[in-house]
């Protein structure tokens, strides 16, 4: 029984990791209708920059602020240099461009810092509490709290502010938005910038747990995509909930389902996603778009 609850907590902890990347992916999708496969690697690059600043003696809070701003600029830069030129092209072209970003940023981190894993400075105090034999760490709770605030903020901005409305409109249909007077390009730029910063926050949250390395975010990508799909690509809160569901399902399933076991645990997020999609095709919190024929 204790094992069950321990695995539940472990699942929430892993789920928080998946949810963090999922949040960044959902943000960029909501703002630009593009799934950026390179999001994780861009986040890793920012995390490395923060780590490097700390190594050079800059206090951690300041490093996070500096790199947070820098990652916003990185997002804008990537948008203007790479995405804007192909924005009129088909989805497939953009997919390959984002894959190119994936390869590029991972190789960049590898080249600059080598393949060894590093310790990322922790933002939350270590240690935790032992509740009836189940161990809960302070960092897990901290990460969940930060993600909750982030998701709520994102959701609120998109739903309740004019800026959010403008961003959503630009993503949905750039021509019609231009007609209405929205500065589409600026909205897209903002979207990429915010997404990059969110990605950095995600990487900073999970870095201490995952150990900073050029391939840190790679195994997470599939789980993050599944989480976002599960929760609905329209909803930041959905990404968070989706991540937690995936984490818990995977943690419990890997241990208590012997025919899956820990080596086939990657099947679980897919199976869970599939089941939920078959029941509710837009994801748990997604909103279905009504298309006029």
């Amino acid at each position: 029984m204790v094992l069950f609850f321990q695995l539940l907590i472990d699942g929430l902890a892993s789920g928080a990791i998946y949810a963090s990347l999922a949040l960044a992916l959902v943000l960029i999708f909501r703002a630009t209708r593009i799934v950026n496969f390179g999001q994780g690697e861009m986040a890793t690059l920012s995390a490395y920059c923060a780590w490097q600043l700390c190594e050079w003696g800059v206090p951690i809070a300041l490093s996070l602020l500096i790199v947070g701003a820098a990652s916003f600029l990185l997002g804008v830069l990537v948008f203007r240099a790479v995405i804007k030129p192909v924005s009129k092209a088909s989805t497939e072209t953009v997919v390959v461009v984002t894959l190119g970003l994936f390869v590029f940023f991972q190789a960049l981190c590898l080249w600059l810092w080598g393949a060894d894993q590093r310790a990322f400075p922790a933002m939350f105090p270590g240690g935790g509490w032992d509740i009836l034999g189940v161990r809960v760490t302070a960092s897990t709770l901290g990460i969940l709290l930060v993600l909750l605030c982030l998701a709520a903020t994102m959701g609120a901005i998109f739903r309740f502010t004019r800026l959010g409305l403008a961003m959503r409109a630009s993503a949905y249909s750039s021509e019609k938005s231009l007609l209405v007077g929205i500065r589409v390009e600026r909205m897209l730029m903002l979207g990429w910038g915010f997404a990059a910063t969110t990605g950095f926050i995600a990487a900073a949250l999970v870095g201490p747990r995952l150990f900073l390395s050029p391939t840190m975010m790679m195994p997470i990508l599939l789980y993050a995509l599944a989480s976002a799909t599960l929760g609905g690509w329209d909803s930041p809160l959905g990404a968070l909930v989706g991540g937690l569901i995936v984490g818990v399902a995977e943690s419990l399933g890997a241990t208590f389902l012997p025919f899956i076991g820990a080596d086939l645990r990657v099947v679980i997020p897919i199976a869970v996603t599939l089941v939920i999609l078959l029941v509710r095709p837009v994801g748990l919190f997604g909103s279905s778009t009504v298309v006029k024929v």
Binding site: V35, V82, P85, V86, A89, S90, T91, E92, T93, V94, V95, V96, V97, L99, G100, L101, F102, V103, F104, F105, Q106, A107, L108, L110, W111, L222, L225, A226, T229, W233, G261, D263, L264, V266, V267, P269, I270, T273, L274, L277, L278, P281, G283, V291, V293
Partner: protein, 337 residues
């Protein structure tokens, strides 16, 4: 009109002529690399069918490729079948599994389908490892390589290259037959406007499943060929990145072009080696930039580059006759129609 047709099929003609001249120009080990490229090309052809012609994103093509390879290997190792004879079986088995994947796809929209199929691709190597009694697990499977018959004048590599070309030609032939008829129209309707098609009475379910079946059959054929060429397969060759590579190959080559499939295959087999050769330390960086640059220059893939139109423009230079042309790709155009 005849002239326009000729120029539109420029990529296909180019690819075919290069393929035939290769044995003369290239040394044996390069023929081997090209044969591998052809096997990937057949799998990419399947992806083009699914993505380019029917508008469904399937990121499990690498796993289906692997299933074809393992089918060939298992039939050869366990039942002693000649590897070449196993190829149709590889195609059929993979096709059946592809339909299984296609079934849930009926309910899923584009992005979701992509992610679920990517999940299948991620689970595939682990499944191979788990089912090690059949698949040989981590040790992999080694097959008897079909030797060139005694009457064949060339080398073993040439024989295998010829075999690859025959498989490729068969695939292209079957695919064009498929696309020319009703099924082809069905698939194009599926991609361009499924709602209208359905309201006109088109059976989309049948179309979707047919697309999956055909696409997987091609992936399986490519995989079986891959197994024959290498003589040894292991789960390490079928990681999720392989599905991504096939996707990249398809899009870079031109997702609506049959010639593009093989151009893209050559891209993914040779370009990573070239970028590393330029600078070993920066190899990955250069490859990433290459992908991005490629897409910025050739929006519709390499086959979509206006080679045909360029040649045609050249012809106009001499004829000095201006023709009014509709610019851009005509919906439903494929290289050679």
């Amino acid at each position: 009109m005849n002239g326009t047709r000729m120029f539109q099929s420029a990529p296909a003609v180019l690819v075919a002529s290069v393929a035939l001249c290769l044995p003369v120009l290239a040394p044996d080990f390069m023929l081997f690399e090209f044969s591998i490229a052809v096997s990937y090309g057949i799998a990419i052809l399947g992806l083009n069918l699914l993505l380019g012609f029917s508008g469904q994103i399937c990121l499990a093509q690498g796993a289906l490729f692997g299933i074809g390879a393992y089918t060939t290997a298992i039939f050869n190792v366990n039942f002693g079948m000649d590897p070449i004879v196993t190829l149709p079986f590889a195609a059929i088995v993979t096709s059946l599994i592809g339909v299984l994947i296609g079934l849930p796809a009926l309910r899923l929209q584009g992005l979701q389908l992509a992610i679920v199929t990517f999940g299948v691709a991620s689970a595939f190597p682990q499944l191979l490892l788990k089912m090690d009694s059949i698949t040989g697990g981590v040790t992999g499977l080694a097959i008897d390589q079909p030797m060139a018959p005694r009457w064949f004048p060339g080398s073993q590599e040439l024989w295998l290259y010829g075999l690859s070309l025959i498989c490729a030609a068969a695939s292209v032939f079957m695919l064009s037959r498929l696309l020319r008829g009703d099924t082809g129209r069905l698939l194009r309707a599926l991609r361009d406007n499924p709602l209208v098609a359905e309201s006109l009475g088109v059976n989309l379910t049948k179309g979707r499943l047919a697309a999956f079946a055909a696409s997987s059959a091609l992936a399986g054929l490519g995989g079986g060929l891959f197994c024959i060429l290498n003589g040894f397969i292991s789960p390490q060759s079928f990681l999720p990145m392989k599905s991504i590579d096939i996707l990249i190959g398809g899009i870079v080559g031109g997702i609506t072009s049959m010639a593009g499939a093989f151009i893209g295959a050559v891209f993914i087999v040779f370009v990573p080696g070239w970028t590393t050769a330029i600078n070993p330390a920066l190899g990955g960086l250069i490859y990433g930039l290459c992908l991005i640059a490629m897409m910025m220059v050739a929006r519709q893939g390499i086959a979509g580059l206006p080679i045909g139109r360029g040649l045609q423009a050249l012809k106009h230079l001499f004829n000095k006759k201006g023709l009014s042309r509709v610019s851009g790709a005509v919906p439903g155009q494929l290289g050679g129609e």
